[in-house]
């Protein structure tokens, strides 16, 4: 499975991990990761530790997650990006929409 999820101990944070290439092939799995969460989520963390590559359709998926999480009031964190992934995020200036750490 290229996308996996886990909850924080208090259950309020949903961590989504993407393995390998984050591109259009992950589309459905990525959506399923956050769309069917039954308990309320306060914060979303997209953990890209094991993500090797990210394309523009992945950027679109991140925007969809942000929209799902409440748009401008959403709390979405993107973390542990490798330098290539970080560069793609910064070319598109996604720092303005997500907190990237």
């Amino acid at each position: 499975m290229s996308v996996s999820t886990r909850r924080s101990d208090d259950g309020l944070v949903l961590v989504i991990q993407v393995q390998g290439r984050f591109d259009f092939s992950t589309h459905q799995a990525f959506r399923d990761a956050y769309e069917h969460s039954d308990a309320p989520v306060k914060e979303y963390v997209v953990d890209l530790t094991h993500t090797t590559y990210l394309d523009s359709s992945a950027l679109g998926m991140l925007l969809l997650l942000r929209d799902h999480a409440g748009g401008d009031v959403a709390s979405v964190v993107i973390e542990n990006c490798n330098p290539d992934v970080r560069r793609i995020l910064s070319i598109s200036n996604f720092e303005q929409l997500f907190s990237i750490r």
């Binding site: 679109g60 998926m61 598109s92």
Partner: protein, 570 residues
Amino acid sequence: MNLLIAEDSDGDRMILATLLRRLGHQVHEASNGLEAVAVFVKTEPDIVFMDALMPTMSGMDAARRIKELSGTRFVPVVFITSLASEREQARCLEAGGDDFLLKPYSRVILEAKINAYSRVLALQHSVVQQRNQIRQQNEQMLAEQRMARRVFDNVAHTGCLDAANIRYHASPLSIFNGDVLFAAERPGGGTLIFLGDFTGHGLPAAIGAMPIAEVFYGMVAKGFGAIDLLAEINKKLGNILPVGMFCCGALVETDGARGTTRVWNGGLPDGWLVRNDGELVAVPSRHLPLGVQPPERFDATMELLNTAPDDYVVLMTDGFPESCDAQGESLGEDAVRQVLSELQHDDHPFEALMARLQAFTGHPDPADDITLCCLKIVAQGAIADVAESAPESALTGPGSWHCVYELRDQALADFNPLPLLLHICTEVPGLRRRSGEVFTLLSELYSNALEHGVLKLSSEWKKSAKGFSLYYEERTRRLSDTQGHYIRFTLDHEPLSEGGRLKIRCEDSGQGFDMGEGNDSPRPIAGKEYHGRGMGILKRMARAVSVCGSGNCVEIVYDWEFPMQGCTSQ
């Protein structure tokens, strides 16, 4: 089913044929390999039963031939054999055989095998049908794409991409990769270029491109500048694209007369300014892509560069640095910088970059998703009337009218009145053809009134590199306090027997310009500069130019004539 038996022993052949006919199949017979091939061609059987050892042509040679002839159609060849050795059996399979039937025949086995092959053939039949369907749909899609591309070309390439100072590479089908490239001359001179890269591929990516082309060409022709254009494109895309789809893009606006170039980059790889002395200035992406931010949060701030003739501006989509070589390594943005930094004096950046790409990928043709555009800054001589080619409208417009338009206070900082004023003027059919000249007149009057009259900026500053940035920093700073100021345009048009006369009076709340020699005006330099350039342009185009009031008001008279057959009126 339709079956073929090739067997040299008449007795054996008859037994098998009878057996198969009793099972309800149609049976054709051959007594050697050569005959088997001939009957195969004539009857196109579903399954072939073949004796391995036959005179004239062996069963194995015949099997090979039949497999060749059947091409992509699957025709099972079942060897009828009493050959016990494994080696012989292996040879039969190597020759293209699919199965064995050992003598003496078992009715039960025979029937089971035929049923099994019947299932395989049914499966193969449906695979072939699906393949044909996919092939047909693919052909249809390609035909539709060619058609759509022609429509798109008509919309997108009405501009000046073919101008001598623009070099570009865009794949003929790049639109279906989401890349768009537009270029247009501004009505008063200068060029606007937009390069965009939509997320996704195919139809969804192409659909977003059409309204952008309309916005781009429509607004440029009406005299809107780059900032208005960006805001409108962003808003339009925000409205029509679903969340998750957006357009990375860059917009370049050159103003040859002022020696300035503005660049906005949201999500594309670094753009580059290559100065004629070899200096490189990167223009990195500083904004979110278009269609992501709501209008109230969209930032259209452009990077201002002072440019000179023979400088180049280079833009590309990410397909360029991401091009791969045979090992799957990508070219990278460092390579782009390296090519540009190693340019010799006469090298064209476009050619150097394309040559590098070709050498790197090893392919003569770049991939579909690569768009590269290179704009050479050219000196703007006498301002060309670029809009002479504008189509004459069938509508008649007003000939005699008067209009006063005054911008006050904060509106001076927030609003660009030129498109509106140009629109009013070009309602006169004869002036529509002169929209370039009219725009130049209006914009010269307006920018002199704003920058030198209201904001009291000195053009002298712009002559040094340091002063250049100071000028524009001060311009921005002073625009934040325009309280109590105004710029008033008074437009008058009257028909004449051979055309019409447009009078434009532009008055501002500034202290006016120094008109005479040795006058102790507080701003003699600004005054001189006004005469030096702006006034020169106005005088060249207008019938009369006069300065009135305390020098804070300029009035020009502009006459136009109906075009005569075969020559252009002056």
